[in-house]
Symmetry: D4
Subunit: 246 residues, 8 copies
């Protein structure tokens, strides 16, 4: 849709040939802002229900600054996989940019919210907490309560058993696990809530950078769960957020 | 937990040393039935909220008959990947066994239900319908309304656009796609409901039996979705069912 | 051949009770028998402690007959992955050949033994029994007691808990599992006996013919276990047998 | 063909036993220059229509200098994947060497040209611009007009829709995308021009260094496109250049 | 876009609030036909320039009949990977359906055309002709002249050399090769026309179902070529067709 | 099990409603200690027979300190893959922490033991000693005698032959090998003791980070062996330890 | 080279402008015969030293007949991977076609030769003989003496030791092995002759269709050997033949 | 050790010129030297025909020094993949250690030889020279003449054609190539000498660290060649050396 189309829609609405609801429906898809090398989708928040979330890792500082400058007035912004040293450099130009170090998340203009709902975020080991926190902290930014259960690996099954009732109380369960990645299947077998499994890249040798855990989770014989990309805490959080909103 | 433990629990309850709620909590985990070569988890329906679901493909007729004989009095039963010829043979001994041919699903003693909620089940091509129906029909057996949108592949994007508002009305969206598997990401980018992506094994050459579609879905830059195993309609249906129940 | 045997041979030669040619023949290590296309290792039983075990699957009937004809007088014989139809054809020529159908094992001249020791053989699902029986029946042929626990998958964890004490009583534990292959790790975490994990090829899609289960088992964070090839019941049985003999 | 053969051809031409056109045809294949460790194909420009293009990455400075010294008088030269620090060192000896930093391309003696034709170069995200510029800048060096559309990812489909008519105006379309790599298929489905898809290595986890995007592109159900190696902007540019020349 | 939207557009055009060109632009995206389980993209021919092309392999007879019945009045139709036995069954109901056996292509209502342009289709071996013909025959159906060069493998390089001048005369070159897949790179190095490489699944062992040839083609150091999926003659043909049309 | 359950058990025991042996059986599963982000399984030593073994590599110093602080009073502790520089930093706070540099193992409060049993630890090359020592030193910490045979690769087979009798004297054999990984199969063919094969990541090119050796070991036709993860000396040691304890 | 070039060469030779040796040198590269769909390289025997060798597996009967008809008068012919049933059909039209069943090789017009040289062909198991015979019989057709050593697997190492001196007597050694594929490395470590390793597809599970054996052979630490494709007896035979000819 | 040696030993023992203990020591095949952590195979030169060749890359300085100290008096020594900085450190202690920088080879006590035979060493690009030199320089150390042809890639085929006659003059041909790895197959098709193909890891993206070139070489339809591990110049050199010696 071009600017002239937009003018036309507005004129049609003014002249009464287009109803208010039809105009709104159309505009929901419209606006984006074009900058040198960047094309901002300014309506994502309206359409999808969560702010602009940028994967910072493969972007250079110049691009990140352009993103920050342009998003500022349009949408709240979350930056995942933002290294601390990069954050410190961005902070100089954008002093309102905040940061959560364990989750490696930067964020700007996230409006305060009344939190609602409850998501359980579980990790198998203490090495998986980085991924767990990417999910948990994102969910808190999006406006959900989070109940964290960290270091509940299957090598000590009684730790899990003890927590099952608490876990069951949440609306949705996120489980991050590396190595053999068996924890999500174990927990799914004992609960009646949807479960999102996050394979992590923790391990070595035949771990294949997290593929071992991923395959375990995809092949789980415990029904009622689904899987996101390796180390993808953000993906799990947004899926859980949409479930939590229902 | 052994039978003697069970006796103990019951005795304690009788003697008043164990409260009703504590006894129930314990019993929720207990019973299973041991048959030659089979160990039935008889309480799954109670604990997880859906009937016994058996993957029929790698089991021989003898084992399937044993499953049917023993499950009959305990739980409703769904058998996935049940070939028509096998079904016909089982039907002789178990005349109440029913069958859905497109979905390759056999089922027994599924109680009638008031359906509630609405799930959208979408396929990219007509070759993916087999997987789509495994999900859709399972959801109907479990008690959900299903809205089917079949053959909406990305090669004709306008077909998708036209349906987005209808799709948005459901509580959860299942999208099955083979070949490049891009459809779930396209739809996720336009809705605000949780989406479950199902890669199918449709394709050839570099398709790698569905891995091409799986990787596409796991790497999607459209947030708010999760993935199940290749061709795993049952997995998507049970995840969607737990979401629908919320 | 030990050093003392060698000394004896040398002394016999020096004393003239052993001819030069006989000494030479013996010093080439051990006897073997050469037939057209086959070279039999006749001393394996003596050296390794178990009979000749032949993998029958990729051999044609002609070769299998040659094996049977030549091994007969030398060593007990176990034939793994022997299809029933092939067995029936071999039976005509070798009427003493016996067969176990679930395990697909043929055997000849296995001497009766006083069984000793106890091995637990566990399967996650009823589809894995074929592999479980290959292990269990081989162990019984080799002279060990076997305690079978079939269909104990992690989707109903209480079934496992109930059996742990019985499992702990064995000298060594074999666990066969397909799909996500998490069962060996779960059991290993609760026992103090060496555990041999056998991935099976049961599953579909991302199962990759058993690789999913294999990777799970190799990456297990429960220490005290080791893994054999996919569907390799014989491999697990011989490892367990050597442990049991200690 | 040896130097004496060359002499012979020339003599035959002189003596009239070889026509001009036959002599030319032969010479088109002939000359190359042998230096220590290097064998220059001096007629590539004549035969293929584009200058010598060197992949600089795995070559050490000594080799690069030898290449520059010898190519100088024979052919224009493009050096891809040339790191800035290496460029600075080469610049000292070869002051006429130029450099484009975003594209990591060095170039020497590229003759000014009247540009003709129009190629669209599109990237899915801002992280893919590096690859997009390798293609776009190479095309400009070769003598084509380029229309850049950067950051048009499928997570905001309306951005793409808005540009389709402009994209359609070009003779050939290059689309670079990482992660799930779905953009080329989406665009191909809406245009009637040949499309070259370039998978990029942007992503993480199951991205497999760009293989996820590559497989998506190879399995695309949108016909009328072809694929080059991961991150291979040069490959896409030369293919587009040959199409543009038609 | 719904039917009521269509009405609105038409009414606006009638009333003069929408210009002819705007109406056409919109309608270009509109119509599709919904049948049970099928959603036909009826305007593909208009938008993309080639008829509906259906991948027949994974569709059952019932679906193929539905496709034939509905496409008939709307668009010419090409069915790739259509087995001869399936074709014979469809022929009964659709007597106008035609078939090319080497190419395994069925087609219906392809309008006669004045052919234009010239594409070279080359195969490395006689085993690759099946794929070569899928490409060559599709191009002839689409309206291009084709020059076939079959069995020009690199094991006899002089065969290739002899043909290079003829090959150079075409507007675009398709090269199908299995096993090591080196032929496209060899030919690309000697011509100045765009080349489309098609890996075939011919070979064994480490051929990996065509992946060996695919990787060779993607890694070719001869610039000016691009690659399609393994055995994807249709993909190469449509890419070549769009190039030929320029 | 919750604290109140624990109270109940204890009260039941006090009141005589629970026997001593039942109380012990229950308590064996009970206690764990919850710290911020860590959930300690305090009874592992009792249940499994070996101390807490922590994989240090993917944990940051803060987490490792927390582990040391909390485990100190509960269990002996072994830390594998602990880099020397990290060890030096931990040593400041925990002066009793000890370290074995070749094995990269840190350890704390390992009680002195009377060693029993004998395990052979063999490496194929001198590059594999790192992995061999991880196994050998762990076994010594756990209380076993170890007989080391290093650098016995198959390129000089007579070195192996010479040691077979000594190797046979141990209760269990660990063999670490990289590159082609053939040594475990060679040794297994000559002994009658259970053998644990450890693939190492030593090699290059098609070695695939140790997968070459892993596949060799899993496919070995020498029966009586099993395999652990690549470079997993700890895994081999704990398996051998449980065998040695029998 | 075109026919007119050929005329030119001949004329130049006639007129004395081209010497005899130059004419021969050129003609060595020239002739091929073009048939519908086939392009015969008629000079291969002259140039490379062995007859036309056709891979029959992926060719249909019609193509094989065309090959036989055209090659007949030009070159001896070997057809590998020729199934017996296909051979019987070809035999009707070409009664002089001969066949070796174990090797699955058809051959025509192979001239009788004085055999020279000696190649050892070794297999690890009796299942590998099919591949061993493809190599051995091809070598005999090409004119070499072959010494066969079958069923010498590493599970009985003394069988190998006994044969080493005989093996050493050959000019070149071919070793075919499946499963773990360790035999070539073992033999190479004991001889001073070039060794060609042939991985076979015998095995199951993690064997990966022969990749396990292939990787073992490529990673062998025994120097002095090289590898051919999985099951590629012909490849090994031609390599050995060229070595034998030296 | 030959049978006649064995007879001699036995006779010496009978005659009393050899003590029992000396006979025993000798009968254990051949002498080797045991040092802490190292077991030297001192007879390799005698048995295999080339000196001790050590892969230096994964060994630390301490181990390399031990190797140098112990090998010194026993055998000439070649160290492959020896980094320059490591070499400089070793040089201090072992001043007679020499080094070739392009080949990354260190060597000690290589006796001067009369070179014999001729091997052609060819590389496809200038980036492959590192691998080419590892082969070429090793061959020169072993005593062969080497003819180098560097930078003869297939993108300029005429360069190859020009050299074929020179290449044909050698006894054996080594061809190193990265990226698509097609050069060995091209050259093999034009010569009658055995060819050893060396895939190199030069390339990016789908190159997979050299696997692309490896697969090309293994699948080559040009017979008469074999392949070694990726970047394995030493492997190619030793194979060529054994061929050259014939």
């Amino acid at each position: 849709m071009t600017t002239s189309n937009l003018e036309e829609i507005l004129n049609q609405y003014k002249q009464g040939t287009l109803s208010l609801s039809d105009a709104l429906k159309t505009l929901k898809w419209y606006p984006f802002v074009e900058k040198k090398n960047l094309t901002f989708d300014t309506q994502r928040y309206l359409r999808r229900g969560f702010p602009e979330i940028i994967y910072a890792k493969d972007k250079n500082i110049k691009t990140l600054k352009e993103v920050l400058k342009n998003t500022k007035s349009i949408s709240p912004l979350i930056m995942s996989r933002l290294e601390y040293t990069i954050y410190k450099k961005l902070k100089i130009t954008f002093p309102k940019l905040k940061y959560n170090k364990t989750a490696s998340i930067g964020y700007l203009d996230i409006p305060p919210k009344n939190k609602s709902g409850l998501i359980a975020v579980i990790t198998a080991g203490s090495s998986d907490i980085k991924v767990g926190e990417e999910a948990a902290f994102t969910l808190e930014l999006l406006g959900a309560h989070v109940n964290r259960f960290y270091d509940l690996g299957i090598a000590g099954l009684h730790r899990i058993m003890d927590k099952i009732e608490q876990i069951e109380e949440s609306k949705c369960i996120i489980v991050a696990a590396g190595m053999e990645g068996a924890l999500p299947g174990i927990i799914a077998s004992m609960v009646s809530k949807p479960l999102i499994a996050v394979p992590t890249s923790i391990g070595y040798g035949t771990n294949l950078g997290g593929f071992s855990a991923l395959l375990t989770m995809l092949n789980s014989c415990s029904l009622g769960s689904a899987v996101v990309n390796i180390d993808n805490g953000i993906g799990a959080a947004t899926m859980a957020y949409l479930i939590n909103k229902l």
